[in-house]
Symmetry: C2
């Protein structure tokens, strides 16, 4: 993980619609949701949703999976874990709080 990647991922999450999309997918799990279902649940215009899904995908926070004429999106927990790890890297210079500081995986699946 490098700075550029981290900023890209944080930027992807730092927006109302995208954060809602990501959390919805996290709650759904590895199975994911297709674009239409996300649209129905969140009520954003198709073009807007597509734009945001592209941002999240480009940042690596979600992964698309084609299934017939539907495209299912699911969260990438590895990316999430890597991001948290980057944010807390070498916390407190490795002193005192060390044991509690070590970043812990958020979800091992997927």
């Amino acid at each position: 993980m490098n700075t550029k990647t981290a900023v890209t991922r944080l930027t992807a999450l730092a927006q109302d619609s995208r954060l809602a999309i990501f959390r919805l997918l996290v709650q759904k799990g590895p199975e994911g949701l297709c674009v239409g279902d996300i649209q129905t649940k969140l009520g954003v215009a198709p073009a807007t949703l597509s734009f945001h899904l592209k941002e999240l995908t480009h940042a690596g926070m979600v992964k698309p999976r084609q299934e017939g004429r539907f495209i299912y999106y699911s969260p990438d927990f590895k990316a999430m874990n890597a991001l948290v790890a980057y944010l807390t890297e070498n916390c407190c210079g490795g002193r005192s709080c060390d044991p509690e500081c070590a970043p812990t995986p958020v979800c091992k699946e997927n």
Copy 2:
């Protein structure tokens, strides 16, 4: 934690200079660093640095502490933990991956 707070915090971190500032402070720990030291280490203009510190402070990601004519900034790990918890709330609908999904505190200090 609510959506607005989460977006504010993510936005605070989703920028090169601010992410660098935050990570620098995380690595320094609760003691923190004063503005001048941050400026020296990162090489951003005073006005720009002040702007970014205000953003981080307003988002609750860092806390200022006046000490003589210096102002020390330190990270707020509680805010960090709350943010991660919000992102992974009810991961996978509480099924299968549940044990590994539960978000874990990043740092208990401070």
